[in-house]
């Protein structure tokens, strides 16, 4: 079986994603590197996740599809501009690596991690999640279809169970 990170990169290619926005992230690092090496994809490191929403809107105005890769903690930085997905009604796809779920050792990650799904849904974003490697490809593919064929704003939560719980050497 493929690594689920390879599956994500494959789905992004299958859906003709041309712009990939990200902040540095351990969970997404392999996908980000694959995008950086691709000649067909423009990969942009952001200073804050907030930039990702209007970037995606601008790309769509110009006829290109994009994806925003971020952590759950970054979701809170996007919320007012996330409203653009509703006012402009443009396709939007974001893949979110989760922190602050059960098992998390860092207390600072819990507030936004536990709030992630609720605030996305409050802004009208469709939220789906995946916690098994074998389901990643289908889930991300379906999310991309809802976004780019169905015109929706869609978030996929990559659960901490899937990514592995960060321990910083603690047992």
């Amino acid at each position: 079986m493929n690594d689920w990170r390879d599956d994500i990169f494959q789905v992004l290619q299958d859906h003709d994603i041309k712009q990939v926005y990200h902040v540095p992230d351990a969970g997404h690092s392999k996908v980000i590197e694959a995008c950086q090496k691709s000649n067909a994809i423009r990969t942009m490191a952001l200073t804050t996740e907030e930039e990702g929403i209007p970037l995606a809107a601008g790309a769509w105005l110009g006829g290109q599809r994009s994806v925003l890769l971020m952590q759950s903690s970054g979701v809170g930085n996007t919320i007012n501009l996330m409203g653009m997905t509703k006012t402009l009604r443009f396709p939007f796809l974001t893949l979110i690596t989760m922190r602050g779920e059960l098992g998390e050792f860092n207390s600072w990650q819990y507030p936004m991690g536990q709030g992630t799904q609720k605030v996305l849904e409050a802004m009208g974003v469709l939220v789906t999640s995946v916690d098994k490697a074998e389901d990643v490809k289908t889930t991300v593919d379906h999310a991309a279809r809802s976004a780019f064929n169905g015109g929706q704003a869609v978030a996929v939560l990559l659960r901490q169970k899937l990514i592995g719980i960060k321990s910083f050497g603690k047992k």
Partner: protein, 204 residues
């Protein structure tokens, strides 16, 4: 510092004069939106009615989606300030077709002309800012081609730079505080987006 003498409406009209299908314009909420609309509403204008801070990243995404067109962002000092670090993202990506024009009146115009951060310091208890220099910030973010425009005599060169010079181009223009008529484009964001895409791509 001398008081600003440039008026934003005739200035923006000059910047957009003769705009054709090769010019894609994004304007920030409030005065910049009314300015580009007063110059003549057109499908390839994307005037924002909200989403403060969205203009520069939106221009960047559009610039890479449409590398053969000129993308011009026209916005105010406070709109830029809200996502000012996006200038570093622009510098990292070096879009050669993107120009950013910031109309700096040193005020929060839509909420009653309170001093913005670009206002001078020590300007009294209710009208002091920080003296923030956005052109210097743009330079510091890594945008090499930046400049500040204050005089009518500099406008012809400003227009040329914004319309044709290799990007990314950043220009800060000091403009007067004025009470101007609201000239409003359509408000529905989905409509604005669809008419833009239809004019640019032939379909929504």
């Amino acid at each position: 510092m001398s008081k600003a003498t440039l008026q934003r409406r005739p200035l923006v009209k000059k910047i957009l004069e003769g705009a054709d299908d090769n010019l894609l314009v994004i304007a920030g909420l409030g005065s910049s939106n009314w300015d580009i609309t007063a110059a003549g509403d057109r499908p390839l204008n994307m005037p924002l009615w909200g989403s403060m801070g969205a203009t520069v990243p939106m221009g960047l995404g559009l610039a890479f989606a449409q590398p053969t067109k000129r993308v011009l962002v026209i916005t105010g000092d406070a709109d830029l300030m809200m996502t000012v670090s996006a200038l570093a993202t622009v510098a990292a990506q070096q879009p050669d077709n993107l120009a950013i024009c910031v109309l700096d009146n040193e005020k929060f115009g839509e909420t009653g002309n309170q001093a913005s951060h670009t206002s001078p310091r020590n300007n009294g208890p209710t009208d002091s800012g920080a003296g923030t220099d956005l052109a210097m910030i743009a330079k510091g973010c890594g945008i090499a081609d930046t400049g500040t425009v204050r005089e009518q005599a500099e406008v012809a060169q400003l227009v040329k730079d914004l319309r044709t010079k290799k990007g990314p181009v950043f220009r800060l223009v000091k403009v007067m505080v004025e009470k101007l008529e609201f000239v409003m484009p359509p408000q529905d964001g989905a409509h604005l987006k669809d008419r833009f895409r239809t004019a640019l791509l032939g379909s929504t």
